[in-house]
Amino acid sequence: MAFTTPAAPGATALASQADNDNYLKHGRGVLSWLMTLDHKRIGVMYLVAVLTAFFLGGIFALVLRTELFFPADASNVGLFLTPDLYNQMFSLHGAIMVFLFIIPSIPAALGNFILPVMLGAKDVAFPRLNLWSFYLWCIGAVFFLIVLMQGGLDTGWTFYTPYSSTKSLTAVVPALMGAFILGFSSIFTGINFLVTLHKMRPEGMTFFRMPLFLWGLYATAIIQVLATPVLGITLLLLIVERTKNIGIFDPALGGDPVLFQHFFWFYSHPAVYIMILPGMAIISEVISIFSRKHIFGYRFIACSSIAIALFGFFVWGHHMFTSGQSPLAATIFSALTFSVAIPSAIKVFNWLTTMYKGNIVLRAPMVYALGFLFLFAIGGLTGLFLGTIGTDIHLHDTYFVVAHFHYVMVGGTLWAFLAGLYHWWPKMFGKMYSERSAIVGSIVAFIGFNLTFFPQFLMGSQGMPRRYFTYVPEFQIYHQLSTIGAFTLFAGLLIVAYNLIHSLLKGEKAPNNPWGGATLEWQCSSPPPYYNFHEQPVVGDPYDLDRVQWDPKVGGYVDRPGYVPTVLH
């Protein structure tokens, strides 16, 4: 401190060097991206990749909704699809959205970028494994392109046997290979995050002083590492049955088709929490910062993530209440299922209490977080009808289920993903975006989403089965509302895409800390330098927002002078 004057020239040089050096400029050319070990560049590549998959899956959804505007005629001729094409469209819509988009969306794209910076670290524990995980994703995606070229996949994303193993005439094996490889991509991300969070937390950051986003990623990583191998083995067994006729799942070969469902949901139910936990974690960050309040109930929110991750392993049988599993098993699974409802409710009430007496800033991330609250509440509450065994029998495999999981996965995860994307966008790319078009896009998408999926609840409780190419006339009005909603949703998301691309090209320069967050990623410049931090940031309470104050000169928040953060050791 006493050497301020002599050190000044050097410090200025360092500062200007810091201005020029950021991860986007560090190294030029395509190869510097493709061969990078930088978690930030890998995160950005993941972001581009998963958004491409999301676009493709979304187009398939629009094709489905357009076809369903009218039922097929007396000769079973649809508007523009054949039954086979329709079946392939819904299968690929599901498989692409689940395996290529939602599962990697928040952890692999946003998590990769933010996790090390939030830790004040240079990178994840295994940067090469990280890049390999991205390339596995690409290889998995190539397999799905092969599926498309070989005439599609018509088993649904669930690959139920024995249809998938012996009856389907489509490219099931490449799809299984693709999902298998994508599983390893997911496992590698999980291992990386687990090790990074255990070994690379900075001095002073105990587990219970981690930002809640990291708790969410930690809980997610546990599931990725423990559940995904089961999916891998299951898919391999299915490949063996399909190619070698070795009876595992097909009763005609001596197998058991219900066994497949147990294996499949043992992964795929916990996978639902791979999708939603990181989303909830983003909401915890956003609501605290944009309410200018310390998060309420930190420990309960953190532990509820772990609780959801663990309970999530014991409820897979609720996908199988009508499958022919024993009534005793069904009853036990129903009871266990409700255990997941409690931690979710705890989170919601803690978020609300955080907003109480706050100073709520309705910027884009917060608008998405509020949208999340609304949509996830509906998604979560409608889960109660499905967890309750007596009412599920009627609702199972109807559009009620379709509406429920879209409210959770789109209304929940996608909305949280967009909240996170808008929240960290200035940090990631050093650019601000047009607040107005971000919020307009959010509102249009919100209206479109509800118009798409709310009628599906009613259609489902009236008895409309899912995965139907055509339908009986009384369901037409619901289908038409839903289709109009789907195009509205698409329009909203186009505004979002335009908004973000416009920001990249013409956005104003972002300050280091535009929203006034107290977590460490706001301590480095926007976009972050290649090495993330020039000096090790001081760890404080991640939700102590008094650490920073608004500075009109930089148009963002800066460290409050003289404020001594509660330095944690």
């Binding site: 088709p257 109930g297 609300l352 509020l370």
Partner: protein, 336 residues
């Protein structure tokens, strides 16, 4: 004994449970046409009210906070407690109690769904890609389900190929039909009428055409229809009997009665007799005659018409000689 409390609580909050009359069709549900429907719907409405109240609380609080505490000139956040065990326990315990009630109420309904009365009329169900076949006590078969009003019916179900699921929305019952094992479900219809019967487990190309209906008819009519359905081949002229076999065996799911191909299905069957020869996928060709039609029904994979996939279920062993004979006569009679 500890089970009694939640069930009693549920009955207490759910006044409707005391009025046993079935509800008409409404915005949410089709008509309550079976004995279990009313009770299951009551559970649904109970959860619905809990959900609506919870939702309103959450959203009203969020909206209120956004309005009152939105960032504006002169407004500043206030420091409040950052944790509170009392609050946390409140919103842990209250939802726990509510979901416990839901679980027991749903469990009770499920027990009813799973416990068929001893005196239930048994009807055998066979599912295949893509039709339902129902066999009654007197040996009669049908492609739509006919059941007696006011008498419990138990369906014992099997599948010859892949997973299917039998679903009757008006009765609130559903059960997967699994190859290699028997599954069953039961219901007691309380309103005469015709209701949808859907397949709700995705089963391939024509999954959405695997639809039929359930007709609930008075006991005397039920007995009369069963008698009429049995041995119809002996009583009816061959063409009429053949038309009935055509319907019963579900041929119409995939084949039009004209020469036109049904979308996602096989060749149209109109004008078969006039097609002197057909080209097959293996490059060979053959003449259309009784023997060819017979083989194409029993072993469809033997000669697959050019341009079509080999997806038809073989009927070898699943159709009687009498049925086959009248069916072939009927098919030959179709014009393009």
């Amino acid at each position: 004994m500890s089970f009694q409390l939640p069930i009693a609580l549920y009955a207490l909050v759910n006044q409707a449970a005391q009025a046993p009359a079935p509800r008409e069709a409404n915005l949410i549900f089709p008509v309550e046409a079976s004995t279990v429907a009313r009770g299951l719907d009551d559970v649904f409405y109970f959860i619905l009210w809990v959900s609506i109240i919870s939702f309103v609380i959450v959203i009203a609080a969020a909206a209120l906070f956004v309005l009152r505490y939105r960032a504006r000139e002169g407004h500043k956040e206030e420091k409040t407690a950052t944790h509170g065990l009392g609050l946390e326990l409140t919103w842990t315990i209250i939802p726990t109690i509510l979901v416990t009630i839901m679980f027991f109420a749903g469990f009770k309904g499920f027990l009813e769904l799973k416990t068929a009365p001893q005196n239930a009329e048994t009807i055998l169900v066979e599912a295949q890609m893509w039709k339902w076949s129902f066999t009654y006590a007197n040996g009669a078969q049908s492609d739509e389900l006919v059941v007696p009003l006011g008498r419990p019916v138990k369906l014992v179900m099997s599948s010859i190929d892949v997973l299917h699921s039998l679903y009757i929305p008006a009765f609130r019952v559903k059960q997967d039909v699994v190859p290699g094992r028997y599954t069953s479900l039961w219901f007691e219809p309380i309103l005469a009428g015709t209701y949808h019967l859907f397949c709700t487990e995705y089963c391939g190309t024509q999954h959405s055409s695997m639809i039929t209906s359930v007709r609930v008819v008075p006991e005397e009519q039920y007995q009369a229809e069963l008698t009429e359905l049995a041995n119809f081949i002996d009583r009816l002229p061959p063409l009429e009997a053949g038309e009935r076999v055509f319907r019963m065996k579900g041929c119409a799911t995939c084949h039009n009665l004209t020469a036109e191909t049904r979308a996602g299905g096989g060749p149209g069957l109109g004008g078969l007799a006039m097609n002197a020869s057909r080209a097959f996928v293996d490059g060979s060709s053959g003449t259309v005659d009784e023997q060819y039609i017979r083989e194409s029904i029993l072993v469809p994979g033997a000669k697959v018409v050019s341009g079509y996939p080999n997806i038809m279920t073989p009927y070898q062993g699943r159709i009687t000689e009498d049925e086959l004979r009248v069916l072939i006569e009927y098919l030959k009679s179709l014009t393009p």
